[in-house]
Structure formats: structure tokens, C-alpha cells
Symmetry: C2
Subunit: 140 residues, 2 copies
Amino acid sequence: MDTKRRSDCPISCSLDIWGDKWSLLIIRDLMFAMQCTYGDFLKSEEKIATNILANRLQMLEANGIITKLTHPESKAKVLYQLTEKGIDLLPLMVEIHLWADKYSVIPPGRKEFLKEVKKDKEAFIKSGIKELKKKLVKEA
Amino acid sequence: MDTKRRSDCPISCSLDIWGDKWSLLIIRDLMFAMQCTYGDFLKSEEKIATNILANRLQMLEANGIITKLTHPESKAKVLYQLTEKGIDLLPLMVEIHLWADKYSVIPPGRKEFLKEVKKDKEAFIKSGIKELKKKLVKEA
DNA sequence: ATATTACACTTGCAAAACGCAAGCGAATAT
DNA sequence: ATATTCGCTTGCGTTTTGCAAGTGTAATAT
């Protein structure tokens, strides 16, 4: 596990955690798509490799962004869940969406999401965080 | 230059552009530190390698985030500048700062920046973008 | 009870990206 | 004329990635 930070700059420290091509996609799946198992992440259209996925899940867990839980309906399944720290990345994810919306083509499915966001950004984020935290399951 | 996108998801497309350990640091330097030459970027405390820097500058230019200008005081120097698309990453950078502020130690120098942000985020971003766009120089 | 499948990884290996040091050409300074 | 600054480029060893195949445990089917 990479533990040395390059500097004490907040941007740099953040990038040390999730500054790669995959981490935020896992967080996206957990945050918006309600996909929360290893198998779910593999099914996402970007097609992450199994070893990279395992590595990133470890990384995100080590950095307190996600936690592992035993799946309620089966001991064979693992349920990944955003921590509060992970949930608090929602504003960031929203800003990425807004930026992408301004400068590239957004797939139809996300258009309504963006419509909601633009209606009242602050309210959207506040209620989104509240929703996610409500679902947060504490480890036994 | 990498041109194939992994999916049409806005998060994924954004990461295809600046989803690495260095790009946002270059953007940070242009946005907050007013460092805008190749040499300036090299001096940043994270110590980016020369070839990686050259590659990222190319990448960011190819994606319309930055432009190259001849430096007003010397033909030997190159002045890099954020485009409007690059400037519009300011809200994102602010959110990263706020997240990092909540979950890690922020160096004293950035504390006043964050104080300003927290006072009135929307106003801070709006005036920040305005400032940056005012300085924007059009290529001859 | 046994076999098969589902699930979450691990492993091996080739290819690509990275990091470091050195070099190079044009522009400026001396 | 010579040296230095500046913005890269090149070579090369190391690390990370991507792909395919395999492994172990738990659930399910027979």
C-alpha cells in the first residue's frame, strides 16, 4: 500500500488517494448506481480488470472511503459501502458532472440527474448526502 | 495521444482527461499559484519529472484545458494559460479543498484560502472565475 | 452426499506508463 | 564568442496496468 504523500497540498493529498482512472468510477457506482459488490463493479461499462479492482477496493478501504460488510443475503457475497468520508465526495462528483455537461455530450440517462442538480444544487447535494448517510450500515 | 474513451459516462470522460496524479496539480499551479511556465511547474514541491510534465501539458492542451502562448518577455519562454474550459474546473478544485479540509491536515498557507471559500462559496467561485477570465489572453 | 455454479479474489506475464538522469537546440545574458 | 537559461526529448530500468487463467469458499442444484 502506498503510504508516502508527495506534499501536504490538499489537492495532492486527495489525488494520492483517488487520483487515478478507476477509483472515482467505483465511488460513482456506490454513490449513484447502487452497485455495491465486486461483481457489480466488474459489470460496469468501463470494464475494469479484476486485479485492478481488488487493488483499488483495498486502497479505498485503507483510506477510509469505503468499508466491507458481509452481504445480508449471503456469506459468499461482500457488500461494499461508502463511509461518511466517501459520501462527502458527493459535491465533488456533482461538480464533475456539471463540468462534463458543459464541455461534452452527456448520455440521455444522466440528463435528468443533471436537471435535478441544476434546479437547486445545494439542496440536491444536501438531500443526497442525507439519503446516503441514512442507508449507512454500521459493522456489527 | 490517448483518444479512445472508455464509456460515455461524464465521470469516466473527465477522468480520461485529468484522471491521473499530475494533471490537476498543473491546473492548481495555473489557477492558484500563478505559476505558468514549464520551469514553474517543475519547481512545485511534488517534483514532477520533465517527460511526464511535457506529456501532461500536451494532453491538457489537446483536450482544450490549457493553451500555449509565447511569453511576453522572452521568446525562449512559453506561457501556459488556462482556457475557459480549464477555468471552469475551479468549482471542482474548491470542492477538493473542502473535502481535504474535512478529512486531513491542511497546511497553514491554505487555511486563509479555505476561510475565504467557506465565508461564501458561491461568491468566491463566481469572483474567482471572473478574475481568471479577465486575465485570459487571446492568441494573436 | 455430491457436483456444479457463483462469487471474490490471486497469479503470471506481456505491454504500457512512470521516474530518473542525461542530452539537445534555440534564445538570452555576459 | 561563450556560457547559461529554458523547454523539452531520449534512454533505460522500475513500476503499474491489462488480460487470461486459476484458486478457494459458499451457495445451489441434483
